[in-house]
């Protein structure tokens, strides 16, 4: 990518509009982290486009001083597909929520993932419909009591990472709203990946689902509950880095290091292995964050554009006159 002429700063990516999320909403942190990252990417500001659906999270583009499109519920991946394939030089980001991406937009999400269009999807997962004031979402746990499920939800939730892997996703990661460093690293990695990159970001909604991720963010306990995936490194976690994850008979097992178990016995993360990523995605405690899986494969935008070039170079640039005269013609005098 071309180097931006002028060095940009976070401020360049802020809009004059008031940010309209509830106080304490995790969306603020995600926004700030991305605004911090973008100047670093060396892309001219005018080449960024943020496309979103509908939801609290989908208000995001209004606060990002780039090109932006706040579209309709669930359809951001489709709109981004049209944009990116026809304008491959743009740097396209899709911002979406668990309702927007996994409920009404589920089909477009899985199709984007299989087609591998080169854009970055950030799914803000607060496990609730925020904007419509608190109904359960496809990531809400069974039994959750909400306005539309007063006796508890009976819908088994999706695991977004498993769904993305099953759809053929070529970059699948997870992070947490307020883990600034980790989140920025994930965003940077996603941006570096050619193809559809998918990051599930756990996001707290203090109004309708407060504390959903407390276990993973509370300083006192989080290191016991989160394991960071790093390619080529063994799966170690715990405040004292004293626990790890081992693979036994194809199943994951949490072990205490030291009691006859060493790091060498632990599972080493291999982000090129889709099946292992799928296994890790099923781990409930500790919760893995990081890049589960990454693979290089052709992108839709590349392939579409290459076909256009090939067609022109093989058949010659089309000429309207010749087209209209193609097939049998005859003269009337």
């Amino acid at each position: 990518m071309a180097e931006a002429a002028v060095k940009l700063t976070k401020k360049d990516f802020e809009t004059p509009l008031d940010v309209r999320w509830c106080p304490g909403c995790g969306d603020y942190a995600i926004l700030a982290n991305l605004q911090r990252l973008l100047p670093d990417l060396g892309i001219p500001r005018e080449n960024f486009v943020f496309v979103s659906g509908i939801g609290c999270s989908s208000r995001f583009p209004y606060y990002m001083n780039t090109y932006g499109f706040h579209t309709i519920h669930g359809r951001a991946p489709s709109i981004a597909t049209g944009l990116k394939t026809s304008r491959p030089e743009l740097d396209v980001w899709v911002i979406t929520g668990d309702g927007d991406a996994l409920s009404i937009g589920g089909n477009h999400l899985i199709h984007a993932l299989r087609r591998n269009v080169d854009f970055n999807i950030l799914l803000f997962n607060n496990r609730i419909y925020g904007l419509t004031k608190g109904q359960y979402s496809p990531t809400s746990e069974i039994g959750k009591k909400t306005k539309s499920s007063p006796m508890g939800s009976v819908d088994a939730p999706f695991n977004p990472i498993m769904l993305a892997l099953g759809s053929g996703g070529s970059f699948v990661a997870r992070s947490i709203d307020i883990e600034a460093k980790h989140l920025q690293a994930m965003m940077r990695a996603s941006h570096g990946h050619r193809g559809t990159s998918f990051i599930e970001v756990y996001q707290n909604c203090p109004i309708f689902n407060d504390g959903a991720f407390d276990m993973l963010t509370d300083r006192k306990v989080k290191s016991e509950n989160v394991v960071a995936l790093e390619h080529g490194k063994p799966l170690v976690f715990g405040k004292e880095a004293d626990k790890g994850i081992r693979l036994v008979d194809g199943k994951l097992e949490v072990v205490q290091l030291g009691e006859g178990v060493t790091e060498g016995d632990l599972l080493v993360h291999d982000e090129t292995n889709r099946t292992q990523a799928f296994l890790l995605a099923q781990l409930e405690l500790p919760v893995p964050v990081g890049v589960f899986f990454r693979e290089e494969r052709p992108t839709l935008d590349d392939m579409m554009n290459k076909q256009l070039e090939t067609a022109s170079s093989k058949k010659g640039r089309g000429e309207l006159k010749a087209l209209l005269h193609s097939g049998e013609t005859w003269e009337v005098r």
Binding site: Y62, F69, H108, L324, E328, W330
Partner: protein, 611 residues
């Protein structure tokens, strides 16, 4: 053995229908015969009619496929009404089509297919060829299977391959009957079977066998000839509505300098536009087959935002699904053309039949006040012009535009005088680049269009979306007065397109007893019927509406000059409703919703009933 002489009769026009099992190759036969007629210099109109099933069981009514064609020595506008000639390859084909054949018409039957079992499958009590069923027609029975087999006896081809060529026998026979040149068909076969010389050879042999059979056999007492039509000089080709639609879009792309982007999901009868456009990647045409109609229009909207000439194509059920997204294009004022190739509804309805019942859906079928201009094509070739015009308006006014065609236009063909490419007007597309004074919703004073900005343009970064916009700034606005202003502005913008609509051309006198008002594919049938009525001295004129929304500014005045207004439509009266509401005139309807186009005589009868 007989000594009858072959007489060549001169005819003005002939309507012929080929009908047989879907496996019998009737579409191909019809198309080839069309090619031949076109080369014979006749004006033509065609109507293919195939079953919804890919291939229903052989010999059943559901499996019958038909192709009707009219060719004439004068201008014609339709595939004709009642066939003069029916080629019925099997009893089911006869059963389904017999009722349409004109009294004393010619029926050519392939005797070999009229077995007891087949007659029974088709629902005949006995064998219609022999039991008197056809006594009021001129019946010619031909043992096509046997003669085909005989023609290929020494080729060593298997029975299935042999059977597959019998349509060439029929084509050869009919070509002789109407003195068509079969050279073009042979050329076509040579292309098609280049890789399979034995099959090619077999087809040509059988074609010629049919032709020669006509010439030599005694059963035909006369051959017919239709003289070339007297049509405008120029270079002509035959074109179907779907091909013309695709070409219109490509032309718009070339004339505007905008890359064409199609987002589509296959659906009958619209898929051929997708197929056609997919072939022309060397025109920089990008086609995206989406996972569904919503994604298709979504991708098109994304491409429009990116500065492309964005289109999406579908038929009724698919268009219904696109409406929510089209509403986004309205709010964000992005150019987009949505082609609705109408078919029989509601629901899955009659996918392979034609209808005009989506008019109100495209005008009103969205939530909120969401005006969209609508243009309707009136003949297969006119699809080219209508598609081009839809694109021009979309870009000029920054608005989604509907293009309406229908199954009849889509699959029907007509000779088209190919326009001179140099004479086509380029459109003037300006992308905003100046930073100074830029606001995303600052409007052009004339057209009320907002500026179009390509993402990637430095200094013009901005955000749009589906929430109500503040005029000018484009910021989200919940202000009551702004909302009212924007609702009215969007309506005014669409209404303003009236200035681009040419004054109405009344066909016939500008005043009189009756004006027949049509739109879309009824054009040909209405024009022919009005001609006939006028020839009988009736004070009838014809007005055909092209822009359905906004309606032409002068339409009310034009209609009020007639005592009566008659509106033939292939629906229950959708345009009629609009005319009554808009002009408070007691327009009456002539409505047909059978999945088939009007015939001239149906309209003529309608005219007579209303005089």
């Amino acid at each position: 053995m007989s000594t009858q002489e072959k007489v060549i009769e001169q005819l003005e026009s002939v309507v012929i229908r080929f009908a047989g099992d879907s496996g019998d190759g009737m579409q191909l036969t019809g198309q080839q015969f069309t090619q031949e007629s076109v080369l014979a210099g006749n004006d033509i109109g065609t109507l293919p009619d195939f079953p919804a099933e890919i291939r229903a069981p052989t010999g059943t009514l559901a499996g019958v496929s038909g192709f009707q064609l009219q060719f004439a020595s004068h201008d014609i506008y339709t595939p004709g009404d009642a066939p003069d000639v029916l080629v019925a390859m099997n009893p089911a084909a006869l059963k389904i089509n017999l009722g349409d054949v004109r009294p004393n018409g010619i029926i050519i039957a392939n005797t070999d297919a009229y077995t007891d079992k087949n007659c029974q499958k088709a629902g005949f009590g006995g064998n219609p060829l022999t039991d008197g069923t056809l006594s009021s027609y001129r019946l010619y029975t031909v043992d096509m299977n046997k003669m085909t087999q005989a023609a290929l006896a020494d080729t060593g081809l298997g029975p299935r391959d042999i059977d597959r060529t019998k349509n060439m026998f029929a084509l050869g026979l009919v070509s002789w009957m109407f003195q068509r040149p079969i050279g073009v068909t042979i050329k076509q076969l040579e292309k098609k079977f280049a890789a399979k010389p034995e099959i090619l050879d077999a087809n040509i042999r059988v074609l010629k066998a049919g032709y020669h059979y006509g010439e030599t056999a005694e059963i035909f007492t006369s051959a017919y000839e239709v003289k070339p039509a007297a049509i405008e000089p120029g270079t002509y080709r035959s074109i179907t509505g779907n091909a013309a639609t695709a070409y219109g879009f490509i032309a718009a792309s070339e004339l505007s300098g905008l890359r064409l982007f199609l987002g589509s999901y296959p659906i009958t009868p619209a898929s051929d536009v997708l197929h056609e456009l997919s072939k022309h990647k060397n025109f920089d045409v990008m086609t995206f087959q989406a996972e569904d109609e919503i994604a298709a229009v979504g991708a098109a909207i994304g491409a429009a935002f990116g500065g492309n000439l964005a289109i999406t194509t579908s038929s009724g059920p698919g268009v219904a699904l696109k409406m929510e997204a089209i509403s986004l294009a309205i709010m964000t004022e992005l150019p987009l053309v949505i082609a609705d190739i109408q078919r029989g509804g509601p629901s899955t309805g009659l996918p392979t039949k034609t209808e005009q019942a989506d008019l109100l859906q495209v005008i009103y079928g969205r939530h909120g006040e969401s005006p969209v201009p609508v243009i309707a094509a009136q003949t297969p070739a006119d699809c080219f012009w209508a598609a081009l015009e839809a694109c021009r308006i979309a870009v000029k006014y920054m608005t989604p535009v509907f293009l309406l065609t229908d199954g009849y236009l889509a699959n029907g063909a007509e000779p088209w005088k190919i326009p001179d490419v140099e004479s086509l007007e380029a459109f003037d597309v300006k992308f905003r680049k100046e930073v100074d004074g830029f606001l995303p919703y600052l409007r052009d004073e004339d057209t009320l269009a907002r500026p179009w900005v390509k993402p990637g343009t430095p200094g013009l970064e901005h955000r749009i979306g589906g929430l109500e916009k503040e005029d000018g700034s484009g910021n989200v606005s919940y202000s009551p007065t702004n909302h009212e202003h924007m609702v009215r502005t969007r309506a005014a913008k669409v209404k303003g397109i009236q200035r681009d609509i040419a004054p109405i051309e009344v066909y016939g006198d500008p005043e009189g007893d009756l004006v027949v008002v049509g739109w879309g594919s009824t054009y040909g049938a209405i024009r022919t019927a009005v001609d006939a009525a006028r020839n009988e001295g009736k004070k009838v004129s014809h007005v055909h509406i092209r822009w359905m929304n906004p309606l032409p500014a002068d339409l009310g005045d034009v209609l009020r000059r007639f005592k009566k207004v008659l509106v033939p439509e292939m629906n229950l009266g959708q345009l009629r409703m609009l005319l009554r509401a808009e002009y408070l005139i007691p327009a009456e309807g002539l409505n047909k919703v059978t999945g088939r186009p009007f015939t001239k005589s149906e309209i003529l009868r309608g005219i007579e009933n209303h005089l």
